[in-house]
């Protein structure tokens, strides 16, 4: 089950009732800590949707804490972000690039895509999993006309960056 976290509610609860912008590093640390607490209350592997819809600004310091550091620290969890606008994406891309991280984001129409410094073939492999839902390296290799071993390497990269899930020989898109 996906747990949805409304970031603006977390901001108001953990920092100040009056704030609507994710700016400054202390704010980012407080918000990330609250997200980590919410995620830790669930057992096992978690999938969390972080909703930016009601967040005004996101500065680089906050993107570093709320997105990059969250991904680096919550190693047992998977995350999707939604409700992003262009300026959010800028700050998040900068933070992801710093650590070579990747992130699944969901648009208003439900379509998902990847942010972060990924190679073209890694993106194509992710899109193949997104299309197939569940597939092993052979299926993805067939889809992309690649050698299975090579496709397997791409999928492992995606799994290690936690933008696909892994179940035995299969790789799964997020539900």
């Amino acid at each position: 089950m996906i747990q949805t976290i409304d970031l603006s509610s977390v901001l108001r609860r953990s920092v100040c009732e009056l704030y609507s912008n994710l700016v400054t590093r202390p704010t980012g640390v407080a918000v990330r800590t609250e997200i980590e607490l919410l995620v830790s209350e669930r057992s096992g592997v978690t999938l969390t949707m972080i909703d930016f819809t009601h967040v005004g600004l996101l500065d680089y310091s906050c993107a570093d804490e709320v997105v990059a550091k969250l991904l680096l620290r919550a190693t047992n969890g998977f995350f999707i972000c939604r409700g992003l606008h262009e300026a959010h994406v800028d700050a998040i891309e900068a933070a992801l690039s710093r650590y070579e991280l990747a992130l699944v984001v969901e648009a208003a129409d439900g379509a998902r895509c990847l942010l972060g410094p990924l190679a073209r073939e890694e993106r194509l492999a992710w899109e193949a999993i997104a299309k197939l839902g569940r597939a092993d390296a052979h299926a993805v290799a067939g889809e992309l006309a690649l050698e299975p071993a090579y496709a397997g390497g791409l999928l492992e990269t995606l799994a290690s960056r936690r933008v696909v899930m892994r179940a035995g020989p299969h790789y799964l898109r997020f539900p």
């Binding site: 100040c16 700016v23 400054t24 600004l57 550091k69």
Partner: protein, 296 residues
């Protein structure tokens, strides 16, 4: 004996060097009087730096306000006197206007001490920024990035200065210099400065004898290489991202700290990228200038 420093007719980042030069001749506890009687114009840099000057003195300095009514009124509307009252011994009349009501002042002079102040600055400027940047033909999509830039430079004060600082944002006509309007962000503090901040990096190697290490090099490390006093890889990105934003909008960034000043110089300007050996002044004085976009 009181040292009298006559402020220039126009008080901006270039002319303020005269003030820094004069101040460098005195000890921080010497009595100084800043005489602004003949000053007619001041940029956000000039006004925020004036407040910082008072903070760096251990003896309350004296200040003589401008004589011109228009200048006095404008300085009052920027909020200058409401802050200067508590920092200077003001010798002469000045209007008791409340800050605000000035259409070209995007953000009145605001003190920045803690993270919450940055939130307040961002909240206050967001709506006005949209309108005024549109007047400069700057894409509405850039408004958010402009405010993020403001947030990042204000955070430098909170995280690195070790003291409070001042921020002001204003638009005005740069007829002589550029022939168009500009928006300027000025952030000034009298705190640690870039060199001392970087020196506090845990485990930082002291440069070998003879190796260059000065305010200029500290500015190069922080602004060009993105070095921060924190070991964390995510740190030191604020200024790098500010540079990226300014690059897209032909903006200029200049930072003075200690005895040096670094500038990221766009094609419309002829400033020197790095000046060293300037008169010492503590802290950091940041100036961002974004010109009006001219339709191609």
């Amino acid at each position: 004996m009181t040292q009298i420093i006559s402020l220039p007719l126009s008080l901006d980042d270039a002319s303020f060097e005269q003030v820094f030069q004069a101040l460098s001749q005195s000890a921080p506890d010497d009595k100084v009087l800043l005489d602004a009687r003949h000053t007619r114009w001041a940029t956000p840099y000039g006004l925020t730096a004036l407040l910082t000057v008072a903070q760096t003195r251990t003896t309350t300095p004296a200040f003589v306000p401008p004589e011109a009514d228009e200048t006095l009124s404008y300085w009052a509307r920027t909020g200058f006197f409401s802050h200067a009252e508590s920092l200077y011994d003001i010798r002469g009349p000045f209007p008791k206007l409340r800050p605000g009501g000035e259409s070209h002042v995007l953000l009145e002079i605001t003190e920045v001490t803690k993270s919450g102040d940055v939130h307040d600055v961002v909240e206050r400027i967001k709506e006005r920024a949209q309108k005024i940047l549109a007047e400069l033909n700057i894409d509405s999509s850039a408004t958010m990035r402009f405010v993020v830039t403001l947030s990042e430079v204000c955070q430098n004060v909170v995280e690195h200065a070790g003291t409070s600082g001042w921020v002001a944002v204003q638009t005005y006509q740069w007829k002589k210099r550029l022939g168009r309007r500009v928006v300027q962000i000025a952030v000034s503090d009298g705190g640690l400065g870039f060199r001392r901040s970087l020196e506090s990096l845990p485990g930082r190697q002291t440069p070998a004898s003879g190796d260059r290490w000065d305010d200029g090099m500290a500015l190069e490390e922080a602004v060009i290489q993105g070095v921060s006093r924190f070991r964390d890889r995510g740190r030191g990105q604020g200024l790098a991202n500010t540079r990226n934003f300014l690059g897209k909008w032909s903006g200029k960034l200049s930072i003075r700290s200690g005895t040096a000043r670094i500038a990221i110089v766009p094609s419309w300007d002829e400033d020197t990228p790095l000046c060293v050996g300037l008169p010492y002044f503590p802290g950091a004085q940041v100036l961002i200038t974004i010109p009006e976009r001219i339709a191609q």
